[in-house]
């Protein structure tokens, strides 16, 4: 895996600076969060805003004793940390190293194997999540291709790929359900390579759209795929995350072009030849 040449320095910096870490907030009332959930599909839903040092989550439509957390520290192939679930919720710590954290919970019952996954980004130094995404983490899974990188996000109107994998191999021509907190429900289908292309719906309220680093309006989505094997074993895997308003929402291209033209006009005299002064 490729990494920044200076990653070790950044990791060392984080380790030295980690003394200021704060405890994550409690999960809050996860049963109420589950009742208010926008979908009946299995999800890991944030409880509160999340902090630099940690974040709280609730399980929705899924029962599990622990959540697997992978953060890339020590390599993604290392066994994931088991985060205990209490009162339907759990808290993940940012730790000192690892920026993309993969969170996954599973419920194995007579009805089948149900898996819920999400990804959480902490502002830590750490490896790219490429290896984490390539690593099979469940029998049936939905793998973002890629995850939005730091300071970016899924946005309404944009199309992103998600790979469906069954036992580590692409799952072609499978139906995928998309549900959003904006009320959109769609069924999509994976291609021959097992990739489903999701165009996020324009259902994010414009109110609150602000600076890129501020608290923008956002919706949550969940993608789910089900599969029954030859032995009659049913599996359902769901991945949930957030997406923001369209990149041009609350923005004006006309004003942008107008000021661009203004700048050009201000510089125009520099590019015009003056007549040579007449010599006396």
């Amino acid at each position: 895996m490729k990494q920044s040449a200076c990653l070790p320095l950044a990791v060392l910096a984080a380790v030295l600076a980690a003394g200021t870490a704060q405890a994550a907030r409690p999960a809050g009332d996860c049963r109420a969060a589950e009742r208010a959930a926008f979908s009946s599909l299995p999800m890991l839903l944030p409880a509160g805003r999340g902090e630099r040092s940690g974040a709280a989550y609730c399980l929705a439509n899924l029962r599990a004793d622990a959540v697997a957390q992978r953060n890339g520290a020590g390599g993604f192939t290392a066994a994931p940390a088991a985060v205990p679930v209490r009162d339907g919720g759990f808290k993940v710590s940012a730790g000192r190293v690892g920026n993309y954290h993969w969170l996954q919970a599973a419920e194995d019952s007579q009805a089948g194997l149900f898996t819920a996954s999400t990804a959480h980004y902490f502002a830590n130094p750490g490896p790219a999540p490429t290896a984490m995404l390539e690593l099979p983490k469940a029998e049936l899974e939905i793998v973002p291709q890629p995850l939005p990188r730091e300071h970016w996000r899924y946005r309404a109107g944009e199309t992103w790929g998600f790979l469906l994998r069954l036992h580590g191999r692409p799952l072609a021509n499978a139906g995928v359900r998309l549900e959003t907190s904006g009320g959109t429900q769609r069924v999509l289908r994976s291609d021959a390579a097992g990739v489903v292309r999701v165009t996020f719906p324009e259902d994010v309220a414009e109110a609150g759209v602000g600076h890129a680093h501020g608290r923008e309006a956002q919706n949550r989505f969940v993608l789910a795929v089900g599969h029954t094997d030859a032995a009659g074993r049913y599996r359902l895997s769901a991945f949930n995350h957030v997406y923001g308003a369209a990149a041009d929402s609350g923005r004006s291209l006309g004003a942008g072009l107008g000021f661009l033209a203004l700048g050009g006009l201000l510089a125009l005299p520099l590019t015009i030849r003056r007549k040579e002064a007449a010599h006396g």
């Binding site: 490729k2 490896p127 890629p146 680093h213 942008g256 700048g263």
Partner: protein, 353 residues
């Protein structure tokens, strides 16, 4: 008799080739190095490689500098009510990362690597082709503009992000320089992404930043047809690089020569119109505005007066023979003469007088 046929390989052509390669790496290099921040060549490159460009191959140091002053230093002080040295550790490591790169090339990152520098230079070449007038800066103007880049560094890159973290100024000022940086617009447009041209209408300050950014970008693009490197004159990264320029073995060296005061071709060739390269020698000639492009050395008509050196190693030195050949194709101000990419050597016994 000296052979003054136009040389096939000049420092200028080598620099153009490096600039084009680095333009590709910094603007589209994500396809080579990877998509995520951790896969970039560096997250603290001493050149304006913009993170708003989703296909970039590296990030500019001004990005983590602003973020760390905003989110680490400012917010930590605001929460604890006091300054702790530990809050500066991430910033210190960012600068250490920067220095690991900088120590090898020094300000050649400006003259050879920076994508915005290359874009401005290509536009200026277009201006020559379109026969637009050449507007060099007077010695007074060049000197008067100099403090601006330090002001931009202190206010937009350091001051406002820190104040945003402290809660004094609005959140939008947390990356104040990125909000107005022309490289954000140039590099994203080069990837066919026009989203950065749009202006946010959610608040007066958001709108003001967008309006300023677009006006500045429009000015730089058109001005570059006549003026060399218009944005570099106020670039905060040039100021930051200037603060470290004596801490690298890579440097520009000029020795005193009797003809210098009457000549001044080096200043004509300098894209930053630096007066000191004409009038001074020794360390003063390696001015804070220098981008180590090497044009002064190329166009100095005397042997060994101006040199690019790495430690004791001479990388390039001025030479009368080279100068005479060089001016045959391109004048010191970039005015194209007869273009001969594959110059023929004069016949045996021939040559110029």
């Amino acid at each position: 008799m000296a052979d003054t046929a136009a040389p096939r390989f000049t420092l200028g052509r080598l620099r153009l080739a490096v600039q084009l390669v680095m333009l590709f790496v910094t603007v589209y290099g994500g396809s080579l190095v990877g998509y995520y921040a951790a896969e970039k060549l560096s997250n603290a490159l001493p050149a304006l490689s913009c993170a708003y460009d989703k296909q970039d191959g590296a990030y500019c140091i001004l990005i983590p500098t602003q973020h760390q002053l905003h989110h680490r230093v400012g917010e930590a002080i605001a929460q604890s009510g006091q300054f702790a040295l530990s809050t500066l550790i991430p910033l210190g490591f960012t600068f250490l990362t920067f220095y690991v790169f900088f120590v090898f090339l020094n300000k050649a990152f400006c003259g050879w690597v920076c994508p915005l520098g290359t874009v401005q230079e290509l536009i200026h070449r277009l201006g020559r082709l379109l026969r637009r007038p050449f507007r060099g800066l007077s010695e007074t103007a060049a000197r008067r503009l100099r403090p601006l880049k330090w002001g931009v560094l202190l206010v937009l890159v350091m001051g406002l992000p820190l104040l945003a973290g402290l809660g004094v100024t609005p959140h939008v000022t947390g990356d104040a320089f990125c909000q107005v940086c022309p490289s954000r617009l140039a590099t994203t447009l080069l990837t066919a992404d026009a989203s950065q041209l749009t202006i946010r209408q959610s608040g007066a300050l958001d709108f003001a930043f967008g309006a300023l950014a677009n006006t500045l970008f429009g000015f730089v693009v058109v001005a570059a047809l006549a003026v060399r490197q218009p944005f570099c004159r106020i670039c905060p990264l040039l100021a930051l690089n200037a603060a470290f320029q004596r801490l690298s073995p890579m440097r520009l060296v000029k020795r005193e020569h009797a003809k210098c005061e009457k000549c001044g071709i080096c200043r004509q060739a300098c894209p930053m119109d630096i007066p000191e390269i004409h009038h001074a020698h020794g360390p003063k000639a390696f001015n804070e505005d220098c981008t180590l492009c090497g044009r002064c050395a190329e166009y100095c008509p005397d042997d060994g007066v101006i040199q690019l050196k790495f430690g004791p190693l001479r990388l390039f030195g001025s030479s009368r023979t080279y100068y005479k050949a060089r001016v045959k194709t391109v004048g010191p101000r970039g005015e194209a003469r007869a273009v001969k990419w594959f110059a023929r050597r004069p016949p045996q016994g021939g040559g110029d007088a």
